[in-house]
């Protein structure tokens, strides 16, 4: 798994490449533990995320709770269909805004 982060306007974009499972999710958890100073939107760009398990969902919900508590919006974009299915079945699709891709997300959030 590879995590990268950069800022576009007021949106902090975190891209995750590869697999988010019990072995890799602690790394994302650590990454999401602090919300960068002055950010108002956190966007998880999962376009290159090929796999997610419940261990990955755990980290996403934790990050969403932290964001909510800090008055920051957390959104997700770029889910491939098999990953989107996991968000749907877990009820996360109705909990966290999911955008088809980064441009669509930035148009709404930026």
């Amino acid at each position: 798994m590879q995590i990268d982060r950069f800022v576009e306007k007021n949106v902090v974009i975190t891209t995750v490449k590869g697999r988010l499972d019990s072995s890799t999710s602690p790394k994302l958890d650590e990454f999401m533990a602090a919300i960068p100073e002055g950010s108002s939107v956190l966007l998880l760009d999962f376009a290159e995320l090929t796999y997610i398990s419940s261990a990955g969902l755990r980290v996403v919900l934790k990050a969403a709770k932290l964001a909510k508590g800090s008055g920051v919006v957390l959104a997700i974009c770029g889910l491939i269909p098999p990953v989107h299915e996991v968000f749907d079945v877990s009820g996360f699709s109705t909990l966290i805004p999911i955008h088809p891709n980064r441009d669509a997300a930035l148009a709404t959030l930026g």
Partner: protein
């Protein structure tokens, strides 16, 4: 070429998951699984192996987990067995999927995801082993 069946045997150690996932990826590509079926396959095995390792051997004894995949015409049949303490996943409480971000509990989704994505799901205790049998649609 079709792979009709593949059987794995693992120690109750999460380090086994790396090679197992690579083998599942190989299988999925070799038989050209639809992307959702391939993802569900890895998810089902990942969740149940993780649970067996995490909860099945509280005394940290050595254990053995087996995974068998049969490739049928319309579905994959998966059998996951472990010699951990008896546990029927059908008794795992259903997660509360409604509620706000603040209300949602972290965790408790693994069994639910697999049960929901499988077209059939059964548990039995047999020969001191937990045996979970499930089917995944091939036309996902």
């Amino acid at each position: 070429m079709i792979i009709d069946r593949i059987d794995f045997r693992l120690a109750n150690d999460l380090a086994e998951l790396g090679p197992l996932v690579r083998a599942l990826d190989f299988f999925g590509e070799a038989v050209a699984l639809p992307p959702k079926t391939a993802h569900r396959l890895t998810l089902a095995i990942d969740e149940f192996v993780n649970n067996a390792v995490d909860y099945g051997y509280p005394d940290h004894r050595q254990g053995e987990i087996t995974v068998s995949i049969r490739h049928r015409v319309e579905h994959l049949e998966i059998v996951i067995a472990d010699d951990g303490d008896a546990f029927d996943p059908l008794t795992a409480p259903a997660p509360d999927l409604s509620g706000s971000i603040e209300e949602r509990r972290i965790g408790g989704l693994g069994v639910h995801l697999v049960r929901t994505l499988a077209t059939s799901f059964a548990y039995r205790r047999e020969d001191e082993r937990n045996v979970v049998t499930l089917a995944l649609a091939l036309d996902a």
